[in-house]
Symmetry: C2
Subunit: 191 residues, 2 copies
């Protein structure tokens, strides 16, 4: 039976979403996997926006349940962290004991992004000895790519989190780190 990989990431929001998703699916097929891509199936018609959202969720959850592996694009999206939809999917697959791989197109740590991109470098020690922003919220400092639950979830089940520095203009579309995830997963699961 073919090994199925769920391709999670914020690509769905790109103007050329279909093109990038098709490219990712082709790369997954070339590596020997059967790709499952959110948005690939017909969504049944729904009477309200809210019900349409739930219908899309149902299709995506069905694909995750059918998949053996997830490769999640955790590149920061509209802020300092990964896209929350993708993060939910990563958590879901960890909770379901699937194989998990992830990548991010920045090599800067979560700590650096909170400190510099969110707080503009304005941070200091709190009374309890932790680094915090001017709003008093503590700044995670674990040499990780994102919040420790994301890195931890991947590494605890022997997945891999590939970090690669990509110029900002190509950060949401560059597929080199995705290809590295595919190569690692192929070696493990298609041997």
């Amino acid at each position: 039976m073919r090994v199925k990989v769920y391709l999670a990431g914020p690509e769905v929001f790109l103007p050329n979403a279909a093109e990038i998703q098709k490219l990712k699916a082709e790369l997954a097929r070339a590596a020997g996997f059967t790709p499952l891509v959110p948005g690939d199936l017909e969504i049944p018609p729904a009477p309200t926006k809210h019900q349409r959202g739930l219908a899309i969720y149902a299709v995506d959850e069905g694909m995750m349940l059918a998949a053996d592996i997830i490769i999640a694009n955790l590149t920061p999206f509209r802020g300092i962290s990964a896209d929350v939809g993708t993060v939910f999917e990563l958590g879901f697959m960890c909770g379901h004991s699937k194989h998990v791989y992830a990548y991010t197109n920045t090599s800067r740590s979560y700590y650096e992004r909170i400190l510099h991109d969110h707080y503009g470098g304005k941070a200091g020690l709190r009374l309890d000895g932790r680094m915090a922003g001017p709003d008093g919220l503590s700044i995670e400092d674990f040499d990780m790519a994102d919040n420790l639950m994301l890195d931890g979830g991947v590494l605890r089940r022997e997945g891999r989190l590939v970090q690669r520095e990509v110029p900002e203009a190509d950060r949401l579309t560059d597929l080199q780190a995705f290809k590295e995830c595919l190569a690692i997963a192929a070696k493990r699961h298609l041997a």
Copy 2:
């Protein structure tokens, strides 16, 4: 046997984290549950920051596996979406077929937050007919509290997502919506 509830949220980053978490745990106990609170257990010493992060993850995952229910605080955190650590935990519990409840201390939709808070109201129709920001990224419009995977994950398993408008100064600490989640969960699981 007592029903165990995992209390997820960005409270861990607050200057008064211990105090708020203690309060949430007391409220959960008063409602009849056994609370499991991230950060409540001793974290074993670790030689590097990265390994310490992984050790915290391991403790938190253990608590999630032991819990029957999650109540996740999805109030926007350092941006337009929920804290990604909490989102991972919500996904994990959905993937593990636990009971899920969530709340957010804003009644503004995800669509409004992307459009106004992230893009400053500057958005327009893309060639494919979708609303998008000046960067070309499409804006989700499903009358939902956050990304559709979060609302969808909660509602698909008959959980509840309580939305309540709280003034900004109290948004990360107000516990009224948390109490509503506790009351709903108690009625269902402690009857």
